[in-house]
């Protein structure tokens, strides 16, 4: 009796999983199919083509935007990691009250709505007289990236013992030497994951970039937005497909390939 009921439950559950999966993937699958459709119509199949892919790779706009996106993601993650790691070490050695205040400030850009963060930064850049362009997007991305670095490094720092650091100093190591040879190796996983998290956040951002970008600077997100408002071109479907496949492969490799244990790091 129970077994029948369990089976029934199981089928019902599988059904539910499939429904949600269809909901999540049908739109993506549609775009993939359309990216190979030689007809611009979305309802008629005009034959298989790769022309939208050629068009995409030949487009200076798309390639520029790709370059900007990666450049900003890399630089902002790098700078945020340096500033954030240094800040974590300082915050970790602080007393409760200043620490709480600093952590509170750190939380603001994460909890605030993107539209407010974006607008506030735009107002500040104009007030400071910084011309909107590559540099302002970069500053904005560093700003919202720093908290992720701090939040990944802090737990690692808490696990390290301050005594080893002090022991190294007692043995004659300079603070800098002691830091790089004693503390840093311990927090390295946290620093790395902070960097990666920051990189990802930067790649995904649209709203903050939308308000802080200037002349001739497009990231993939802002480019797609303006293209879509002008009318959907099939090369956008090609771009979607490429992004999806790249993300899929990378996530598969990182999640399911054998690799060093990194679990519990957060």
């Amino acid at each position: 009796m129970n077994r029948i009921k369990d089976n029934f439950n199981r089928i019902w559950q599988d059904f539910y999983l499939v429904i949600i999966m269809v909901f999540l993937y049908a739109p993506i699958a549609t775009m993939m199919v359309l990216s190979f459709n030689s007809s611009k119509s979305r309802t008629q199949w005009g034959g298989f083509t790769l022309q939208w892919y050629t068009q995409m790779f030949a487009s200076r706009n798309i390639m520029d935007a790709l370059y900007n996106t990666l450049m900003i993601a890399f630089l902002s993650a790098l700078i945020a990691t340096v500033i954030g790691t240094a800040a974590s070490i300082a915050i970790n050695s602080m007393k409760a009250v200043p620490r709480t205040i600093l952590m509170g400030i750190t939380n603001i850009p994460m909890l605030n709505a993107d539209i407010v963060t974006g607008i506030s930064l735009m107002l500040a850049f104009i007030a400071f007289g910084i011309s909107l362009g590559f540099q302002t997007v970069l500053i904005a991305h560093i700003t919202f990236n720093i908290p992720y670095v701090i939040l990944s490094v802090m737990p690692k720092l808490k696990q390290t013992s301050r005594y080893t650091y002090e022991a190294a100093m007692d043995l004659g190591a300079s603070p800098i030497y002691a830091f790089f040879h004693v503390v840093f190796p311990d927090i390295l996983p946290g620093v790395l994951s902070g960097f990666l998290l920051a990189f990802t956040m930067s790649l995904d951002d649209f709203i903050i970039t939308h308000f802080t970008r200037g002349a001739g600077i497009n990231t993939l997100s802002t480019l797609i937005y303006s293209e879509v408002r002008r009318g959907i071109k099939p090369s956008m479907y090609a771009l979607s497909t490429v992004i999806f496949v790249v993300v899929l492969l990378l996530l598969l490799i990182s999640n399911f390939a054998p690799r060093r244990k990194q679990a519990d790091q957060t």
Binding site: G133, R230, N255
Partner: protein, 374 residues
């Protein structure tokens, strides 16, 4: 808030880093953006133009010829362009707004006088359009016409037949209840009010509050019939058969008809100038006062006035050109195409937008917001 979420997926984060390695190998080309401070030397030119409003080969040609690096950026509406220039957040060197916006910029002291010694090709512009420009630039000191045109109704002949509706001839027809969900309106405040004001027989430059209130009410009444308020999308949506009628700029016509043929569509798209008259507009190059490369901007304007260049642009964007030299280079068929180059008689009752002052502007904006939020 969204960002907090990503903390949850830390385990999957590792992968995305590899994106850098992968994407980096893509042919990013040598076109790296020089996102640094706008240089004070004259090696650069910041151009701010409408979307799809130039033949991109022309930009390359200009760069090759002058050695000036063009940083080219787009805006969608005049209203969107203005705050960018006003805030001086980016120092553009040459911008292409429409008539009333040029007037607004001029009155607010945001434009630099053009040194016409550097723009000899100004002689190519048909004097008729220089005359027309005087409506917003009385002494022809600040602007050089780039394109002009009208606003009209584009309709899908087959779809109208299916709905049993006659081809539109007036703005009034955009209030036909049988067209429910089939109308595309312009998503910019002055264009939208123009349609309602002209329908009611008022001037599209009115500041009279009762006339505006009536226009607002008309737009609210029309809203259930409207499928979407769009700007540049109207072109692709009409080609795609998304809607039966759309308010559109005249210059899109040639491209649309060509595209309909290329795609072998089983319907025709026709353009009509409503009988109440319409918006006659001019888009002109201007140089903002805070431009850092004024001489380069003048070189750019001069280049755009060159007949062959104006012709190339016309053939690409298909908006009527005020350039006499370029017009003469066109074949007779094109010169006689009335939907591109309408006769003066067709334009009776049409007006050019004028800037009405900040106070009236904000009245328009508020009324438009009421329409949109209704």
């Amino acid at each position: 808030m969204k960002k907090r979420f990503f903390a949850l997926t830390m385990t999957t984060v590792t992968a995305v880093s590899l994106l850098a390695g992968c994407g980096g190998k893509a042919p990013a080309g040598d076109s790296a953006q020089s996102g640094t401070e706008s240089a004070s030397d004259s090696g650069e030119l910041y151009v701010y133009n409408w979307g799809e409003y130039i033949d991109e080969d022309v930009i390359t040609q200009f760069e090759d010829e002058t050695g000036i690096k063009v940083i080219y950026d787009l805006f969608e509406t005049n209203e969107e362009m203005y705050p960018v220039i006003e805030a001086g957040a980016v120092n553009y060197d040459v911008v292409c707004p429409s008539d009333y916006m040029i007037q607004k910029m001029r009155e607010n002291d945001m434009l630099a006088e053009i040194n016409f010694d550097n723009v000899p090709n100004i002689s190519q512009i048909d004097p008729k359009y220089m005359e027309m420009s005087k409506a917003f630039d009385p002494d022809n000191q600040y602007s050089v016409p780039y394109c002009w045109g009208t606003v009209g109704i584009l309709y899908n002949t087959k779809r109208l037949e299916e709905l049993g509706v006659d081809a539109p001839t007036s703005w009034e027809d955009l209030w036909d209840e049988r067209l429910s969900g089939e109308i595309l309106m312009q998503d910019s405040v002055r264009d939208a009010f123009m349609v309602a004001l002209k329908k009611d027989g008022y001037s599209m430059n009115t500041a009279n509050e009762t006339e505006l209130a009536q226009a607002k009410q008309d737009l609210i009444d029309q809203k259930p019939l409207v499928q979407a308020y769009v700007v540049d999308q109207v072109r692709d949506k009409m080609i795609g058969g998304e809607a039966a009628v759309g308010v559109i700029y005249s210059g899109e016509m040639l491209y649309i008809q060509e595209e309909v043929q290329n795609l072998g569509l089983d319907y025709n798209l026709e353009y009509v100038l409503p009988k109440e008259g319409t918006n006659l507009w001019v888009d002109s190059w201007v140089i903002p006062k805070n431009a850092k490369n004024k001489e380069n901007a003048e070189k750019w304007i001069d280049f755009m006035c060159r007949p062959e260049i104006a012709k190339a642009n016309f053939e690409y964007i298909t908006y009527p050109t005020p350039n006499k030299g370029a017009f003469d280079l066109l074949d007779a068929d094109m010169q006689g195409n009335k939907s591109v180059f309408p006769d003066d008689a067709d334009l009776a009752g049409s007006e050019v937008f004028t800037y009405l002052g900040d106070d009236v502007d904000s009245i328009y904006n508020n009324l438009w917001k009421e329409v949109k939020s209704n």
